[in-house]
């Protein structure tokens, strides 16, 4: 198997020597083509912390033909929901999601930025009404190229360091 099959035993490509970095998973989700360095943020978005019971494998800075280097996250026994996938696209716009059942990829798609985001990102304007004890959920209108989030309450735009603003 090569990189093109997401649920592989190896992340090495173009190399005759196959290394066993992370094993194939039976059921779950493989998030491939994650922007290098963002794997831990992906875990954050998925709510995976040290106390999570699920089996999770992370590979960082894996050589990739297309991306130069990439991160990969494998989460066993969990099929990602659309909303979770949308969140990932904020920090890893090229990520691909592979749903695995019985070692086979039964569904594969690229993440896509949604047109709006609710309750995912915190507005970075400290004086925004969404940063108070009011009963309000943060909401942003998403511009895709370049990625910019505009708060629907205060009009503030977040264009850099989006990962730092994830709730």
């Amino acid at each position: 198997m090569t990189e093109s099959g997401a649920n592989t035993d190896t992340f090495s490509t173009g190399s005759s020597k196959k290394e066993m970095r992370v094993r194939r998973i039976k059921h779950g989700t493989v998030i491939d083509h994650v922007t290098a360095g963002q794997a831990l943020n992906v875990l954050r978005i998925l709510g995976i912390s040290g106390t999570t019971k699920a089996v999770v494998s992370v590979a960082m800075n894996v050589p990739s033909g297309v991306m130069g280097s990439k991160d990969i996250v494998k989460v066993e026994d969990r099929e990602l929901e659309e909303e979770e996938v949308d969140r990932i696209s904020l920090i890893a716009p090229n990520a691909t999601i592979n749903i695995i059942r019985d070692f086979e990829v039964i569904e594969k798609y690229k993440v896509d930025l949604p047109d709006s985001l609710e309750g995912v990102v915190k507005c970075d304007n400290p004086n925004c009404i969404s940063n108070t004890n009011e009963p309000v959920t943060s909401k942003f209108i998403v511009n895709k190229k370049p990625v910019e989030l505009r708060c629907i309450y205060c009009d503030h735009v977040i264009s850099e360091g989006i990962a730092e603003h994830l709730i």
């Binding site: 004086n127 009963p135 009009d155």
Partner: protein, 303 residues
Amino acid sequence: MLHHIISMKDFSRDEIDIILKRAKGFEPIAKGKKSDMLSGKILATLFYEPSTRTRMSFETAMKRLGGDVIDLGSIESSSVAKGETLADTIRVIGNYADAIVLRHTREGAARMAAEHSRVPIINAGDGAGHHPTQTLLDLYTIMRESSLSNLKIAIVGDLKYGRTVHSLAYALSLYRADMTLVSPKQLQMPDVIKKDLKKQGASVSETVNIEGVIDDIDVLYITRIQKERFPDPSEYQKVAGSYRVTEELLKKARNNLIVMHPLPRVDEIDPAVDGTRYARYFEQAFYGVPVRMTLLAMAMEAL
């Protein structure tokens, strides 16, 4: 569908034109002609920040249309001081009044209030955010005293923190106005707003000198540099008094130039200018009444 009035961005050019056209019909009532258009209706004014003219012109507009006004009183003695959320206050007041005028310290407060309100919310300023009724009265003043077509305008003063100028510049972009932004370097209009204006197709240029543009504009819109918006008082001292409109400056102006100011002024306009043909800021303050009458009547579905 409730007629909330939150941000100029919610209005199309056509909708603005309708409001401006209707406002003219309210001028006689604003001057004292009797009306009972909003008789039996109650307007609640919720001002979490001080205001004189905005609050009084809303009250005047409501009362001259035959309606009544209730207010929150001082914040210190109200439920707000007990820690009530704005969302709860809005839900409660919505049971008493037919519309709510809200001024709040936080950006986005009016938008959130609208989500919780069963009556129309009229934004009278949210922190450094929007102040759409001011913008509409500014546009109305330009329409009445100059012209909104082929307009050349200089917007002068604090373009960074001044909420009125952000809304105004956005609205003027809908009229394809030629805008010159005049401010000290540290008070320039935020990039994100300039980008929005350019996206609308507006013609925008920037300068620090008022003298260079005074002979080539129809409207000089000057604003106060607002001490209360500066996080650092020493920054305020550096720019206070940067611009001053004097008779001397106006010697170079076109004959039909008009000078506007949202008021209150501190020292941006020499009082000697008040008596010249250029001054329109007191008319501007008056026009707030017919414009707000229009908005109240539309919000309460009397129009």
